[in-house]
Amino acid sequence: MAGPVRVTGPLLDVLEIFLHAAGADADELHGWAIMKATKRSGPTVYGVLDRLEHMGWITGRWEDQHPEPSKPRRRFYRLTPTGVLHARQMLRDRRPQALPRQVSRTPGPALPGWLQVLRQDGAT
């Protein structure tokens, strides 16, 4: 892991999305889903993903094949165990209201709209 972490709004947004997704059975997210959920631009999101990957907080894997033929493959990211710990700690310090109460595999009925989108994207 590199030196001290520079905490920015986009970084917190992305970590928040990952943590919420982990509790919604869609813990693997691809770049476009993160862009949609955070409402941040592509370069901003990918800058954050670069940093998180470099720090070892997330790990990525390529899908074997896009569900639609002749489309480019997507790369899915998920928090590593270390990343989960650091992300929870960081959100607890900086944005406690955004921290999911508990990580559960069965989402409750009051799931936010953007999370439904993530689940659909993760399922495809």
Partner: protein
Amino acid sequence: VIASVLIPIAIGLLVNELCDVSPWLARRLVRWSAFRRYADPARAEARAEELAAVINARPGQLFKLTTTAGFAISAATVASLREGRTRRESNDPAAFGGADGAVPCRSECPDRAAVCTRGASATAAQARRPILRPSPCGEGA
């Protein structure tokens, strides 16, 4: 009268053509952006494919192009900052050779016994040449 008929037709054809060309253009531009942003070619190749998937997922031709333009502008900015930093490092005698113009062989050569050929003779003016931080260890004897 002829112009008022031909101009809208020409514009329609042009717009239609641009719509057909825009996905190809977006793919090319996003690939260029990846290779501009990342110095490591393997990483750039992987990111190019990933960004192509992102552009592909974006609905609408215009949105695809604007997203691509965002990636391209960001990549160009990052690359120019990186190049500027490299240039500054290679041109700055303080960073390269210290205030007295001596090239800091000792700090750059892990092996103190290495022959430091520039430290004794190189001046700040020599060090100021636009070169990309060559190792001063044992060169130019």
